[in-house]
Symmetry: C2
Subunit: 141 residues, 2 copies
């Protein structure tokens, strides 16, 4: 939700959104954009999270990943309690500017379960439907 205090201009036309040079994120009704976080070294997808305008502005200006926790309803600097910080190497935006992709140097594990990535289980075909299998390296470290 764009408000006058938002540090980004409101989204423009579809052409401006898709082809323009202005970052005008399309925040959802809760004021959030979705963020994909990728490990800069390996290219591995580490986690999926959300940013509000302030988290996005802080991430951009400080180079450290800030998110907005929907469960805690609070701004949150990644690693502020765990120490597992993320230094942002590159930030991208998608075609309609409602998703952000950041490449980070991840310190320690990214997942709160203490795994490198949150995507540590593969969905496979079991006898009675899908079953989850831990990937190699998916054990808690």
């Amino acid at each position: 939700m764009w408000t006058p205090s938002t540090p980004f201009a409101p989204p423009g036309t579809r052409l401006e959104l898709e082809e323009g040079a202005a970052l005008t994120p399309k925040f959802n009704a809760d004021g959030l954009v979705t963020v994909i976080t990728v490990d800069h070294g390996s290219g591995e997808v580490l986690m999926l999270a959300h940013m509000n305008a302030e988290a996005l502005a802080r991430t951009f200006s400080t180079g450290n990943a800030w998110y907005f926790s929907r469960s805690r309803n609070a701004l949150w600097r990644k690693g502020e309690t765990s120490g597992n910080t993320q230094r942002v190497v590159e930030m991208r935006v998608d075609c309609d500017q409602d998703a952000i992709l950041i490449r980070v140097e991840q310190k320690g594990p990214a997942c709160h379960t203490n795994r490198r990535s949150c995507f540590y289980r593969v969905v496979e075909q079991g006898a009675e439907g899908p079953v989850l299998r831990m990937v190699l390296g998916g054990a808690t470290r």
Copy 2:
């Protein structure tokens, strides 16, 4: 939103969600999970989209990516009009089972703007704040 017609069991305890072998997606209030789609060959993030229970079940059972379009409020098989289909090579789920990661063999460009990936612009520091720069290969093909 889980309903009796959903082809997945409802989410269990946090321990079951994070460490269990059952796929019990946590659909949001709109009945959707977020999906990150990655190119199987290059590892590049191609797009971010959503699936409802039916799209997820169809993707799992057919091996072709199905999504749910929020703007069109409709189930959608990727490439059904463009021909740019996605053959799913691997599916993963994240720690709290509200996000899915699929690795696909992408036929043609993934983005509706005719680019390989939807993330074709880097956010950079300009004189007056963030500006978007097209990546190499980000021109429409």
